[in-house]
């Protein structure tokens, strides 16, 4: 009994972990969130910050980090229930390293563990407001960013170029944007901008529209090039959509066991929302229709993929491969469309449980146990003698 009790205790020694998780209210706001300026020797400025969305009793820590933090001074390092603080910045006469230098003003909820009685996961929030100081590069230096968006067939494509002169010299240049076919990498055409002058530290934003009347639906690449003595480049991809849903995947194997699920994954090639997309599936045995069913319907956001699901009875099927005609129906704005595709589905029998084998194994184990006890009793008797 004692041995049994020890074994019993080991088997049932359970590990209790209390996982009661709750967090205090965690929210924080900081204004202003970001500031940026071009470096000027001995520049001095006081930034006024406001911290809000904090509970009355909440303690918030304030600190400053970053590669120019040594030139910044805070008038407070802690706030209770939010409030205001100042960051005084006094830059040196010279900063050797050109480019962007970032100062981070960290405002963080201070959460102590003793707040959580019996709890394990708490939450807190930290916001880092940024102060970016741009030290000009010697000579000429231009920063450029090209942006655009996807459109639908024959809609114009809008390009925007953001240009900032980060060098000490004034610049004169004429940007261009080259358009390429993404699939073939073939050049299509060039958009030309007027000549522009940009002083040191100055920023301008330019825009241009691409007429896509002669373009087919698909993916394209735009390359912006600015030659200002050196060359600045940036590229971006864009897509011209068409009202079409592509069948990208489906259930390829079905178990021959009553009602079975059939999934169809579809992807939208349209740059607007598609409503009421669903599929009608007709499973064929040669040319004879074995069953016909519809999937659930779904809406697709621009370029989104989704799964449509349907169910059908497999009782009339036997093992083998069948063709299925999948017809997709969908609506874009006021236009309804459909498309069909033939796919192959394999029907298989569910794996059978090897009852005979299991039975033989069980009998074998029982026999072995019986033999073990018989032998043990025999040797015990002879051992005593």
């Amino acid at each position: 009994m004692k041995n049994k009790g020890v074994v019993f205790g080991k088997l049932f020694f359970l590990f209790y972990i209390f996982l009661i998780c709750f967090g205090s209210v965690s929210s924080l706001s900081v204004t202003p969130a970001a500031a940026s300026f071009n470096f000027q020797p001995n520049f001095e400025y006081t930034f006024n910050y406001h911290v809000g969305n904090v509970g009355e009793e909440r303690v918030v820590g304030v600190s400053v980090v970053g590669d120019l933090a040594e030139y910044a001074e805070l008038d407070k390092n802690k706030l209770v229930g939010g409030g205001d603080f100042n960051l005084h910045l006094k830059l040196p006469p010279y900063i050797e390293v050109p480019g962007m230098h970032r100062i981070l003003v960290s405002v963080k909820e201070i959460v102590s563990d003793d707040e959580f009685v019996g709890s394990t996961i708490g939450t807190s929030v930290e916001i880092r407001a940024v102060v970016d100081v741009y030290v000009p590069y010697p000579g000429r230096y231009l920063e450029m960013e090209l942006t655009t968006g996807d459109v639908n067939f024959q809609e114009p494509v809008k390009f925007e170029i953001d240009l900032t002169n980060r060098g000490v010299e004034n610049l004169t240049f004429s940007p261009i944007i080259e358009i390429y076919n993404n699939a073939s990498q073939g050049y299509i055409e060039t958009l030309y901008f007027q000549e522009r002058n940009l002083s040191s530290g100055e920023n301008i934003k330019l825009q241009k529209f691409l007429n896509t009347t002669d373009y087919s639906a698909g993916a394209y690449n735009a390359l912006a090039i600015v030659n200002y003595g050196s060359v600045a480049q940036d590229s971006v991809e864009f897509r011209i959509g068409r009202l079409f849903i592509e069948l990208t995947n489906y259930t390829k194997e079905i178990l021959l066991e009553g009602l079975q699920r059939f999934d169809i994954e579809v992807a939208s090639s349209w740059n607007d929302r598609i409503d009421g997309a669903y599929a009608e599936v007709s499973v064929l045995n040669d040319s004879e229709e074995m069953t016909n069913f519809k999937t659930t319907s779904a809406s697709l956001n621009p370029w989104e993929s989704k799964i449509l699901t349907g169910y059908f009875d497999t009782s009339n099927f036997t093992e083998g491969t069948y063709d299925a005609n999948v017809t997709l129906y969908y609506y874009g704005k006021t236009t309804g469309k459909s498309s069909s595709e033939i796919v192959e589905i394999e029907f298989v029998k569910p794996a059978e449980v090897p009852y005979l084998l299991i039975g033989l194994i069980v009998v074998g184990i029982i026999v072995l146990i019986g033999v073990f006890f018989i032998l043990k009793k025999y040797f015990f008797k002879h051992g005593k003698k």
Partner: protein
């Protein structure tokens, strides 16, 4: 002649007032700017972050006798190998400000200190709540990743702020081994938002 002189005086007085008004107008900057160029100071908006849903409660439980570890997952909404109550509601982080932010996460401890035992796991995963909050190219924590304590995990490089596209779900996945130390433990997940300056 007298009228002519009076007119001249009136014009002069007006000009003096114009000069005084221009000289008296103060720059909005409180600091001193160099005379050799312009600082072009640009200041933006407000950053605001909150945990809209900050409760994950699996209750009290233990690892099943027949299992060597239990798995608690808010993404699958399951508890496997243990008796805790499954949780389907993740933590939810919202960008309530009017500027995009980058979002990272840190934790006050890691799995070995939080849970203990042989091969525990304490993992985080981020996903859009709805669509468009964090573009797939910017979403770094898209699969469960081990929490690394004070070393920040990059979550989303650019989290939007516009309504219906400003919230993210933060899922937690715990692996609790059978030899995990008994008792209540605590961990704090900190969401760190940095303004993305335009």
């Amino acid at each position: 002649m007298e009228i002519y002189n009076k007119v001249l005086v009136i014009i002069a007085v007006i000009l003096v007032f114009v000069v005084i008004i221009n000289v008296g107008t103060k720059s909005p900057l409180t600091g001193h700017a160099s005379d050799t160029g312009k600082a072009n100071l640009s200041i933006e908006a407000a950053a605001s972050i909150s945990f809209v849903f900050n409760t994950t409660d699996w209750g009290v439980g233990y690892v099943n006798e027949a299992d060597t570890e239990a798995y608690l997952d808010t993404d699958a909404g399951t508890v496997v190998g243990g008796t805790w109550t499954p949780v389907t509601q993740p933590l939810v982080v919202s960008n309530d400000g009017n500027t995009n932010v980058s979002l990272n996460f840190s934790t006050s401890n890691i799995a070995s200190a939080f849970i203990g035992g042989n091969s525990p796991a304490y993992q985080l995963k981020l996903e859009n709540n709805g669509t468009g909050t964090c573009d797939s190219n910017n979403l770094s924590l898209s699969s469960f990743t081990e929490a690394t304590g004070a070393t920040e995990l990059e979550g989303c490089k650019e989290m939007g702020y516009q309504n219906t596209m400003d919230t993210l779900n933060l899922h937690v996945n715990l692996t609790i081994p059978e030899d995990a130390t008994i008792g209540t433990k605590s961990s704090i997940i900190t969401a760190i938002a940095t303004a993305v300056s335009s």
